[in-house]
């Protein structure tokens, strides 16, 4: 069985907006969401820049308008905001929701809440451990989401670091293709936390200024937070529905090189891109645009550049950008957030600039998109997401349906 997989709805919240419209507008204006830290109690707040959503968790909770569940986890609340937008956008019925698959990606789950209670727990002075600890596992997000939305179908959570939500999309597409489900709500979420800020700080890969992916003088990444969900449906359900794009290819592979770093030649990245192209039955020249992982670290951007040149030809790499300078690196959420941005490009025939780029990496000579480009013949997009543990995922979206 092999059925086409259509995207019929999407929702997103990030540092550049609390819904799709706001995100689209910020991208169109080239407006970044990168700022200093306001909502996390860290000593690094004045040394680093982040893509933080400028709302307290309580305010986000009001925005999420929770009816069926209580939650204090910023990550879970972000998920609910994005998933609710996606579901209403796709006009799913309560019956659709009951039987669909819900697949989320997250890397740290409720860590941001957990770490707030942890120190006082160790000192023995915590009064309400439930509030801080009961929501810490990755599965919490789906449990809250499913209960809030009335989903009783198939729940799955993927935790493959920064490719988590890209893999959620991959799995959802495969389940629909194979006839396992007809509808899948897929995406992911990560909230900023002291844990991840210190983790990336200890790795020495946080840029102290705004990140500049693919620039020769890039100094590292800015962390971010956010969530995005997209609704996937089998084509046969979509006769009378607005279809925004189709997923025609995907691939997941492992670099098997180093726990955190990418191999110089991008073995895993190339395998993932090749698999997705071969599944889409496409030659590399069919790709109109690449939505790169482009974190802004020395290692990722060089390795990704070389792998793109290997696949597309040294001088024929399609136009590409990185969205990390807008939202920061939203870890597990970036694959889904950038999938929504890919759909923006496909629907509106617009390409968004990669911010902060000045000079190409000498070894590649590649220059990302630098200005907003309108009325572009964009039909097919390849989107990359790579993570720790060598995890590499590529997705191909098309508007040619």
């Amino acid at each position: 069985m092999s059925r086409p997989v259509y995207i019929t709805g999407y929702g997103v919240i990030s540092a550049i907006g609390v819904n799709s419209e706001e995100n689209f507008n910020s991208l169109s204006k080239g407006e970044t969401g990168i700022s200093r830290v306001d909502f996390i109690d860290t000593i690094h707040r004045d040394e680093i820049f982040v893509g933080e959503i400028k709302m307290s968790t309580d305010d986000l909770k009001s925005l999420a308008a929770l009816n069926q569940v209580e939650s204090n986890s910023r990550g879970a609340i972000l998920s609910m905001i994005a998933a609710k937008e996606a579901i209403s956008h796709a006009e799913l019925s309560p019956e659709d929701l009951k039987n669909c698959a819900l697949i989320s990606g997250t890397s740290v789950g409720g860590m941001e809440l957990f770490e707030q209670g942890y120190a006082s727990f160790k000192e023995g002075s915590i009064s309400n451990p439930r509030k801080y600890f009961i929501e810490h596992d990755c599965g919490n997000i789906n449990s809250k989401l499913a209960t809030e939305l009335g989903i009783k179908g198939h729940l799955s959570t993927i935790s493959t670091a920064c490719s988590s939500s890209a893999n959620a999309i991959l799995l959802g597409a495969r389940l629909i293709k194979g006839g396992f489900v007809d509808v899948a709500i897929v995406g992911g979420s990560d909230a900023l936390s002291k844990f991840t800020i210190n983790g990336f700080k200890s790795l020495g890969i946080l840029d102290e200024n705004h990140s500049s992916p693919f620039d020769r003088n890039r100094k590292g990444l800015n962390l971010g937070e956010g969530a995005a969900y997209i609704v996937l449906e089998s084509a046969d359900r979509c006769k009378d529905k607005t279809v925004h794009a189709e997923i025609i290819g995907y691939g997941n592979a492992n670099d098997a090189f180093h726990q955190t770093a990418s191999s110089a030649e991008g073995i895993g990245a190339k395998l993932a891109m090749r698999q997705s192209l071969s599944m889409a039955e496409m030659e590399s020249h069919h790709i109109d645009y690449i939505n790169t992982h482009g974190t802004g670290t020395d290692n990722n951007d060089l390795s990704e550049s070389i792998s793109m040149q290997d696949i597309f030809g040294e001088d024929s790499v399609p136009r590409f950008n990185s969205f990390k300078p807008y939202t920061g690196h939203t870890l597990a959420a970036c694959g889904a957030i950038e999938a929504v941005y890919s759909i923006f490009s496909l629907k509106n025939k617009i390409l968004f600039p990669s911010l902060n780029f000045k000079e190409a990496i000498p070894d590649s000579g590649l220059t990302p998109i630098q200005h907003v480009l309108k009325n572009q013949p964009i039909h097919t997009v390849l989107s990359n997401s790579f993570g720790f543990g060598g995890n590499c995922t590529s997705l191909i979206f098309t508007s040619k349906i």
Binding site: M111, F133, I134, A161, F195
Partner: protein, 343 residues
């Protein structure tokens, strides 16, 4: 196409499962996994840098592969809480050193997909690499993912599928504060008589090779997950799935009772529907964790292969051996899973 479990490895409170099925670790507050024989496969000097959950996983994975490291088409792993030992270590150092000059190693190893990533690195598996973390569905998804992919393809393929969960002192204290687990004590060491007040935590890693080739093995018939479904829906779905495998009643049902009086009743509707099935239990050996069903699957496959019905796990036994087994697990009424294997 038949999907089979063709190899298996275990690191658990009963060790690698090759001896008698009794807990062999000293009683602590929870059921600790026996120290795996790490040096059997790896440089002793790397042991110090390898975390508890990674050691358990690596040894169980290598045991499952049984020296055949070729042609692995992918790695699927489920973990309920991931590498919490390293998360705890990094959090502790953040507090102790006030966020300054931290070693990145525990942060790197804290990621849930560390296990799948490290195994891919050691075995140089560049293919598919997924880590699931959705409470008691974590291992089930790893298994289902492999099963669906093997059924979809005509090529012979083999996946490494596993699960791991560990317990650490601090997270155990937190789980106690949340009322999830209790320390081991005389009262709660007997989960069958339902005398216990609460649940004992445990840790283990269980790995399997799952294949659609002609190799011998135990057939993986179905993996079912139910979220917030009624008992009636669960039972009817299990019955239909069994019938599709030409089975009216399972030879043995592995029940995930853990001593929690209220929740342990969840299994009754399934048990009552199959009055002639033998019954086995497993959490008195493994303890409870979010991937306990992988431990049960290891036991079930071993029983089917070796035609034994060990008294250590039997609650009700009339059959001389089991040709098939239904493995059940559940969490707080919301999550219920069923795995069915047969010869």
């Amino acid at each position: 196409m038949n999907v089979k479990v063709t190899g298996k490895g275990l690191c658990s409170p009963i060790g690698d499962g090759k001896g008698s099925w009794e807990r062999i670790t000293a009683e602590t507050k929870w059921y600790k996994a026996a120290k795996p024989d790490f040096n059997k496969y790896f440089e002793p000097k790397s042991a110090r840098r390898t975390s508890n959950i990674l050691k358990m996983s690596l040894v169980a994975a290598y045991d499952a592969l049984n020296d055949n490291h070729e042609d692995i088409s992918g790695i699927m792993i489920g973990t309920g809480l991931g590498c919490i030992g390293d998360s705890e270590k990094f959090l502790n150092s953040m507090i102790e050193f006030d966020e300054r000059s931290l070693s990145p190693t525990p942060f790197i190893q804290s990621t849930h997909n560390t296990i799948a990533g490290v195994i891919a690195l050691k075995l140089q598996v560049h293919q598919y690499n997924f880590t699931y973390s959705d409470r008691v569905f974590s291992f089930e998804w790893a298994l289902l993912d492999a099963m669906l992919q093997l059924r979809e393809t005509k090529q012979p393929k083999r996946f490494l599928v596993g699960s791991a969960d560990e317990v650490t002192p601090q997270t155990h204290e937190i789980a106690k504060a949340l009322g999830i687990y209790n320390d081991v004590s005389l009262e709660n060491n007997d989960i069958v008589s339902m005398k216990s007040a609460n649940v004992i935590a445990g840790e283990h890693a269980a790995f399997f090779t799952v294949s659609n080739s002609n190799e011998s093995g135990v057939n993986l018939q179905f993996v079912k997950m139910f979220f917030q479904k009624t008992k009636r829906d669960i039972l009817s779905s299990i019955k239909i799935a069994l019938r599709e495998s030409d089975i009216e009643e399972p030879d043995c049902i592995f029940i995930g009772i853990n001593g929690h009086k209220a929740y342990d009743k969840v299994y009754n509707s399934v048990l009552n529907a199959f009055p002639h099935s033998d019954q086995a239990f497993y959490k008195h050996l493994s303890g409870e964790n979010l991937t306990a069903s992988s431990f049960a699957l290891w036991l079930a496959v071993d029983c089917i292969e070796s035609r034994k019905t060990p008294k250590e796990i039997c609650l009700k036994q009339a059959k001389s051996h089991w040709k098939n087994a239904l493995v059940l697990n559940h969490l707080r009424n919301d999550y219920f899973s069923a795995i069915f294997v047969s010869r």
